[in-house]
Amino acid sequence: MSPKGLAWPFLALLALLVARRRLDVVEVRGRSMAPTLLRGDRLLVARTGAARVGDVVLAADPRRPGRELIKRVADIGPRGISLRGDNPAASTDARAFGPLSPDAVRWRVVWRYWPPRRAGPVPPAPARPR
């Protein structure tokens, strides 16, 4: 990667936002979001006040403090936000731990920057036969 010209102001802005904790960069582990996100994918995430259905978000694991989960918002209802992995056969999600309080969902994925081959906005959930 050789940033030239306009890339530097952009990166400086990115760095500023990271410093102010509005943006952050994270790495994915696990396969419950396959094929959308794979192990080792690196993502730009942004603070969010209001997740929407379909967003891929980071959420505190309600069962294990310190672990942060990455899942997709499947439903927002009166009991809270329900998360689901895009790979439901290999995902521990709202089906296991129920809906989460909106406070638990604080970051939304905006962009994948690594690997370069798959860089771009995170695609919508794959269609699956039910």
């Binding site: 990667m1 400086a12 990115l14 760095a15 994270v26 419950s32 996100l37 790979n87 296991a96």
Partner: protein
Amino acid sequence: MLTLRSILRPTRIVDAHCDIPCGVYDPEQARIEAESCLRIIEKHDASDDKHFRARCIHVKEERAELVKHHLDVLWHDYFKPEHLEKYPDLHETFWKATKQASKVKQSLDAGAAKELLSMIDTIDEMWKSTGGPEKTRVNGRPS
């Protein structure tokens, strides 16, 4: 100093977590793909149709990549630290086998594909002697 590398380095790991990995592992999966590579190389060499030969190369590279993937899964997910005590050369074996799969991907050398098969057989022995068939297959390996 603010560098591109420091900006892009992830600050933390996020978990696309699953409580239950399926737990089914078998080196046979890698072996079948490696056998495909060998047969495809033979078919390539026997043909003088350049389109067919081009397809052979394309498919062989895909299959060799699958060999690497299946070996990686065995290495990361099936083998445990206690297996390393029994087989101190475990890492070396996998490293060499996945390198050999790369070689098969890059070349049309039938000898390299045969060598890969024998390396997978070595891994198969490790899998068998650590209880792989009973522990990971639903009814053992079908005979």
